[in-house]
């Protein structure tokens, strides 16, 4: 599977598929420039869902209204610029007042063991990271709370 095909499936999964159980992912940008980087895809979401009158009242009473995001960055499978990417996303979260974000790093091939360890050990509270090997369809995710929640929503290879 090509990176672009995967990102199209990921976009579909988040906007109209299983992602709706987590947040209302409603706007998707491709080739999104942020800082010195250009993210392959960026999808923004609100945690409070849409709906008709009763659903809106229920959501207003029970769900906090904050924004979240999912970034995809395929340009650095070796994670040589990981710190820069994380800093850029973190700054974005602060400036735009987003609560948390996912960072998906798809790659048409396997990741090095050093790269896998780097991600597995990441315990950022506001950014969940996952590596997606598109050949073996393996997902390596961070140990943080948002990292552990990612595989269910980003496993969209079919």
């Amino acid at each position: 599977m090509k990176v672009k095909d995967y990102l199209l499936k990921l976009e579909d999964s988040l906007m109209v598929g299983s992602g709706r159980w987590l947040a209302d992912f409603n706007e998707s940008f491709w080739d999104y420039p942020l800082g010195n980087l250009v993210f392959d895809m960026y999808i923004t979401a609100k945690v409070r869902p849409k709906g008709f009158f009763l659903s809106k009242v229920a959501a207003w009473l029970t769900t906090p209204n904050y924004y979240v995001a999912c970034f995809a960055y395929a340009g650095d499978p070796e994670l040589k610029r990981l710190q820069e990417v994380l800093t850029t996303v973190s700054k974005f979260l602060q400036v735009e007042e987003f609560a948390w974000a996912w960072l998906v790093i798809p790659h048409e091939g396997s990741f090095s063991s050093k790269t896998r360890l780097t991600v597995e050990r990441n315990d950022s509270r506001e950014i969940g990271i996952a590596l997606v090997d598109l050949h073996s369809q393996e997902i390596i995710h961070a140990s943080s709370y948002w990292g552990q929640r990612m595989p269910r929503f980003i496993r969209c290879f079919k």
Binding site: K4, D5, L8, E11, M15, V16, F25, N26, E27, S28, F29, W30, D31, Y32, K50
Partner: protein
């Protein structure tokens, strides 16, 4: 220049249902006020359906019906009667795909100042994702066919 202006079945159905309910309740109220009874019979139903059809069609044409024409320079979007937007692709800096709920998508064109214009891709029966990539190319000043990584 390409032009699309399909019949939007969902919006037309919405208009027809709304006017059927409105005309039904109006008849119930009028007949009760005039005769102290709610008269329901086939001629009344036929008139109700005719009125619904006429008003629903008029409402759909004046409120929802969209016509989009576009070429390499810009686009012209007409929504209903009197809502015409003629813009150039160069007026915009970013393009996004927006899910409006129930599987309906729009392509959103962002200006540098923060304003945006929505093109209702699903209502126009365009493939939202493919049309988004085409618009991205046009906004960036490229010919759509220039993209080498277009999905199959």
């Amino acid at each position: 220049m390409r032009t699309v202006a399909p019949l939007q079945v969902m919006n037309l159905t919405r208009s027809l249902i709304a006017f059927f309910l409105v005309s039904s309740f109006a008849w119930f109220a009028a007949s009760y006020f005039a005769f102290r009874n709610v008269l329901i019979c086939w001629p009344v139903f036929a008139v109700n359906v005719t009125v619904t059809g006429l008003l629903g069609w008029w409402w759909y044409r004046s409120r929802y019906h969209a016509v989009l024409s576009w070429d390499e320079q810009g686009f012209e979007l007409t929504k209903g009667r009197g809502h015409k937007s003629v813009r150039k692709w160069q007026d915009f800096s970013q393009v996004s795909l927006v899910h409006e709920g129930y599987g309906r998508f729009s392509v959103r064109l962002h200006e540098i100042g923060g304003a945006y214009t929505d093109i209702p891709a699903s209502d126009l029966r365009l493939s939202p994702s493919d049309f988004r990539f085409e618009v991205m190319d046009l906004v960036q000043g490229k010919q759509p066919a220039d993209r080498v990584d277009e999905p199959a």
